[in-house]
């Protein structure tokens, strides 16, 4: 099995889980210092020809694509070439070497927080995440490419997972937000949110690897809760700011490189962006195991 983006925090988690069951090749250009002994680490850039050699070297049963870059500070061009061009290369090899299984980790953020969102979006909902937040367009493009691949190559079982905000030891916007010493909120807004613990995402990837599973699945965590309940469970102080004011400040801070949160991400604490995970529960047989309180508190734990 081949895992891209294996040296991210989630990637390491997946590799550790899977190497007990299968032989795992970890592909990532970053180093993997504490990798398990039986895991092969190929330190290659996904856009390089060398990736093809990895495919050529031995038969691969499944490819798990986690290597989506979302560093809000990286340049647009770098983002695009890594996420889209790199992924296209990967798809090319998956088709060429007739890999039977492809799992792509997308995100529920592709739907985007909107004032007119249904409370629970299903997999057919339009991917409008880029309407207000252009940096997410890469991720939408990756999702679309994977969908196109799903139809063009029926011999490969493609599974696209769209998990809600992943929290835990991972470094993403949601977890970083919950790690702030004082949680900023928007005055008069308290949307319902869904979060999922990283170990549940790993479990969902495991479910997706089951033979004959294919399709697009939303993956949600335990039960939704208002943002204010998350703050309460974290036991941290919160600080409400009016939206226009908060947006202006965040824009300013962003341009001064004082924050890792781009201003359009404020919509996530303003509007609802929740998914209906009925399909993944019934068809994939996935069920979140981590209770909501532990999921929320897991951001404080630095290592697992």
């Amino acid at each position: 099995m081949l895992v891209t983006g294996a040296c991210g925090r989630l990637g390491k988690h997946v590799v550790r889980e899977q190497h007990r069951l299968r032989r795992v090749i970890a592909v990532d250009r970053r180093p993997f210092p504490d990798k398990p002994k039986d895991v092969v680490h190929e330190q290659v850039d996904m856009r390089r020809k060398k990736l093809k050699d990895v495919f050529r070297a031995e038969p691969i049963e499944a490819v798990i694509h986690l290597g989506v870059m979302h560093d809000p500070r990286a340049s647009q061009a770098e983002h695009h070439s890594w996420n889209v061009a790199g992924f296209q290369k990967l798809l090319e090899y998956v088709a060429q070497f007739k890999i039977p299984k492809l799992v792509v980790l997308s995100s529920a953020n592709v739907y985007g927080p909107q004032p007119d969102n249904a409370q629970f979006l299903n997999e057919d909902a339009p991917l409008l995440g880029g309407a207000r937040f252009s940096e997410i367009r890469d991720l939408i493009e990756v999702d679309m490419l994977a969908q196109g691949f799903f139809w063009k190559h029926p011999e490969t079982e493609t599974v696209i997972l769209r998990p809600v905000h992943i929290v835990g030891a991972v470094h993403n916007a949601a977890s970083n937000f919950m790690r702030l010493p004082t949680i900023p909120t928007l005055l008069g807004f308290d949307p319902m949110v869904q979060i999922i613990h990283e170990s549940d995402v790993v479990a969902a990837i495991g479910c997706a690897l089951t033979p004959r599973q294919r399709g697009i699945y939303n993956v949600a965590g335990p039960s939704p809760l208002p943002l204010s309940h998350i703050v309460k469970l974290l036991g941290k102080p919160s600080f409400p700011i009016p939206y226009t004011f908060g947006k202006a400040i965040l824009k300013r801070l962003w341009s001064l490189r004082l924050t890792t949160f781009p201003a359009p991400e404020l919509d996530h604490i303003r509007y609802v962006c929740m998914v209906d995970d009925k399909l993944s529960r019934t068809e994939l047989g996935y069920a979140p195991r981590m209770p909501i309180a532990e999921t929320v508190r897991s951001v404080a734990v630095e290592s697992w």
Binding site: P115, A118, N176, T182, F189, M192, H229, L258, T259, P291
Partner: protein, 326 residues
């Protein structure tokens, strides 16, 4: 300044020495506030206790007894999946129930017509502010057996308003999209729909009680989920604010659905709606069968049946009423 820093404390965030000292200087008043927190909490608790007993005094023990009987399915953190919080709903219902009983002195007819399971309430819309929805909700809780929390569909525009979006979500009002409605009906909730939409609520005074075009969505929903439709006529809403017309240009500019011209706002206490007497008529449940994906013209026929039922209920209600305020 400390304010801005709190907002953007990302993990790669580094504060300069100068701004750190600013934070420290500012921690003084924050510390004092922290010390006052237990006192404030006790004050709030005693205030809540006081409100609770005052509420029971005004509305009677029956209110609490009915509250305990409302069926709810809550998540571990104490809200339902749409964000309804029973605590918020209790206070919201209590205040609306006071308006219902004391201010508008609502008379309710045909309360036996509401089935216990899933139901779509189709009502005429009036009154510039959605007081009609609130009062139908109050009567579903106070007068109808078994008591239930009514769910209504609100305009997506309300979601962009601070506090309003929060309040609506906590008291069980959801954004008006078909997916939400379907999910609520599948959970056997009572769902209120105003098929006239925002055009209905902003009728000028000379067009009062004349229903505007109904949307077709509710009928497709009823056909798809096999839900009985209860037509509802609300009398008394049109006179609470006398509207001379609408500033369409201004409404567009402010991105509001409508901007009524209300001369009474110039009077002292003119912001309050006039204390008209509301009358709410629940009609007999109507059952429709057919394909929810039928052509518009076929759906329109069925919608017309509902619309004319509501209109005739409104007309009969108007004839039966002796005066607007009593």
């Amino acid at each position: 300044m400390p304010l801005d820093q709190r907002i953007g404390w990302g993990d790669s965030f580094s504060v300069g020495a100068e701004s750190k000292s600013l934070v420290r200087r500012w921690s003084g008043p924050v510390g004092t506030l922290r010390a006052l927190a237990p006192l404030a909490r006790r004050l709030v608790e005693s205030a809540v206790g006081g409100i609770d007993s005052w509420m029971t005094g005004k509305l009677g023990e029956e209110f609490n007894e009915r509250l305990a009987r409302v069926p709810l399915s809550l998540t571990p953190t104490g809200v339902d999946e749409f964000g309804l919080d029973p605590q918020w709903t209790k206070y919201a219902l209590a205040s609306v129930a006071l308006l219902h009983r004391k201010y508008f002195r609502t008379e309710v007819f045909g309360k036996e017509n509401i089935p216990a399971g899933r139901v779509l309430l189709i009502a005429n819309h009036s009154g510039q502010i959605p007081m009609d929805g609130a009062l139908i909700g109050a009567s579903l809780f106070m007068d109808v057996e078994p008591p239930r929390f009514m769910r209504a569909m609100v305009d997506k525009w309300t979601q962009t308003l601070p506090f309003v979006s929060l309040l609506f979500s906590r008291v069980g009002q959801v954004v008006g999209v078909p997916e939400n409605a379907k999910r609520l009906l599948e959970n056997n909730e009572a769902l209120l729909v105003f098929p006239e939409g925002a055009r209905g609520i902003a009728k000028p005074f000379d067009k009062r009680y004349q229903l505007v075009d109904f949307g077709l969505g509710f009928m497709r929903l009823a056909l798809e989920t096999g839900t009985p439709i209860v037509p509802v006529a609300v009398i008394g809403g049109e006179e609470q604010y006398v509207s001379l017309g609408n500033f369409d240009g201004l409404a567009k500019l402010l991105r509001m659905p409508s901007m009524p011209i209300l001369p009474q706002l110039l009077l002292p206490f003119g912001v309050l709606p006039l204390p008209t007497r509301y009358r709410i008529y629940f009609g007999e449940p109507m059952h429709f069968t057919g394909d929810p994906d039928d052509d518009d013209s076929l759906i329109e026929e069925k919608v017309f049946v509902v619309k004319s039922t509501v209109q005739s209920m409104v007309n009969r209600g108007l004839q039966a009423r002796k005066g607007v305020f009593f």
